[in-house]
Symmetry: C2
Subunit: 116 residues, 2 copies
DNA sequence: TCAATATATGAATAACTGTTCATATATTAA
DNA sequence: TTAATATATGAACAGTTATTCATATATTGA
């Protein structure tokens, strides 16, 4: 492993890549957010919340599974700022954090040719 | 767990969510693609390839780690259609699959206020 | 204050995944 | 065909993570 046929161009690209590589902390943050939205159980929650704000009871109704499992997933999404929470009496109403979330879901679906 | 204060609106949202929930197969495909781009080692490869096509040797040069580890990650990214490969003599030149990949990375960075 | 309801969480287990090491495959030059 | 180079891959181990179960916290109404 000592080089390649495109030494000239590729070496420049590799050099530019090293210089423009985001720092470890930013890489980790991006990683965390993609991990958060990559689990099927959490994706279902996000697809559900596209319909609007919902409390935990109705999220469970929409996506299935146990209340405990859904609460654990909600915490992960909330910690990564993918969703936001608002207390309303005995309930906590969750909603998507911002338009970036919908946009990224739609990009992924466009990439895969699946309709959402 | 028997209801919530917004029975009216939330129940409708939950109903709509169930009706519009993507099927399991599409959820799984979206999940796979986000998992693919969520690992720090693979994110580095993607950020590197924003500079242009590179062969394995130079990707290793750009992101660090061993050739074996990088090859394993490249396979995962390639299997999920996040990157594409082109043989060129002894080398395999990799590049981002399409503009969706850059777009989704930039959305995530915008969401997190980190510059890339 | 007490009971009921809604939500959250710690601990434990099971499943998943990234890296390493050794080796295999493919291409080129001699 | 042989040697050298570039890349890929199987197996194993270590670290990570989703779910379950039991329980805790918070809010409301009586």
């Amino acid at each position: 492993m000592l080089g390649c046929n495109h030494e000239a161009e590729h070496h420049l690209a590799a050099k530019a890549a090293r210089e423009n590589m985001p720092n470890e902390a930013d890489i980790a943050r991006v990683s965390e957010v993609f991990k958060a939205i990559s689990e099927p159980s959490r994706l279902k929650i996000l697809f559900a919340l596209r319909q609007g704000e919902m409390c935990v009871f109705h999220i469970v109704e929409a996506v299935g599974g146990t209340q405990s499992a859904v609460s654990h997933q909600l915490r992960i999404l909330r910690d990564r700022n993918v969703i936001k929470a608002r207390r309303d009496g005995q309930n906590i109403a969750y909603s998507l954090a911002d338009e970036h979330v919908v946009a990224v879901l739609e990009l992924a679906c466009a990439h895969l040719n699946c309709k959402i």
